[in-house]
């Protein structure tokens, strides 16, 4: 199956979703868009009957960041705390597999954010960084993403629900 999309974010979202379903993904960039060719993998994705499964007994640790400050109260203090938190994340264990930024949390992944360097270091250690695309759009920051991937609610919801544990900042 081939899907044609007109921008980088959509290309990456479709590719990720397909890869998660066990498809082989080939992307070709043409003048009129990205042609994303999906080939069904050898192992068919498991029958996906609607599940109201018990929470996965084991699964990745996911950190969510719903705000650009840590805690409620004084905003300047909250900003300091969030910076201290991401600095410390480089020195403690366990580390999350994925960090998801949404709502004003996305302000932390863009140029000029005080934690960009810390996030880049975490990413270099293999931690996946996802930023909510709707939120970046809302704050008009989509063009200024400095670290991580622009993601969508499907991936965010799947990642959170498939987690062994979700920690919210």
């Amino acid at each position: 199956m081939t899907t044609i999309v007109d921008n980088e974010t959509a290309k990456s979202n479709v590719s990720h979703m397909a890869a998660r379903q066990g498809c082989q993904v080939d992307v070709e960039e043409r003048e009129d868009g990205f042609y994303v060719r999906l080939t069904k993998g050898e192992q068919p994705a498991e029958e996906t009957a609607p599940q109201m499964a018990a929470a996965p007994a084991s699964g990745p640790l996911i950190l969510t960041v719903p705000s650009d400050i840590m805690g409620r109260g004084d905003e300047e203090l909250g900003g300091i705390l969030v910076r201290a938190f991401f600095h410390t994340l480089g020195e403690v264990e366990p580390l999350p597999q994925t960090i998801i930024f949404f709502n004003s949390g996305v302000k932390l992944v863009v140029e000029g954010s005080p934690v960009v360097e810390d996030l880049q270091a975490l990413k270099a250690q293999g931690i996946e960084i996802l930023a909510c695309g709707t939120c970046l759009g809302h704050y008009e920051l989509k063009e200024r993403v400095a670290v991580g991937e622009v993601s969508n609610m499907y991936t965010i919801a799947e990642t959170m629900l498939g987690a062994g544990k979700v920690v919210s900042l």
Partner: protein, 77 residues
């Protein structure tokens, strides 16, 4: 990341003092960062100001010039 500088931290008496110290040192063109007080140290305030150790004298004089009370300055490994 191979040639990480040696860092030091300034301990201050309150978080607001740490925030002020950050502003003053940044205005002086110094490369600083607010970080949690390293575990091996303790202070009245949980936040400290990290700086590049070879600038220790400059950091101290910038802060003292503005009348800031410094609880301690430590080199961190």
């Amino acid at each position: 990341m191979t040639d990480k500088p040696t860092y030091g931290v300034v301990l201050l008496y309150s978080t607001s003092a740490a925030i002020r110290a950050e502003k003053l040192t940044q205005e002086a063109g110094l490369k600083v960062k607010l970080i949690p007080v390293p575990r091996q140290l303790s202070s009245d305030c949980g936040i400290s100001l990290r700086f590049e150790w070879d600038q220790a004298d400059v950091v101290r004089s910038v802060l003292e010039e503005k009348g800031m009370e410094i609880q301690g300055i430590h080199r961190i490994e």
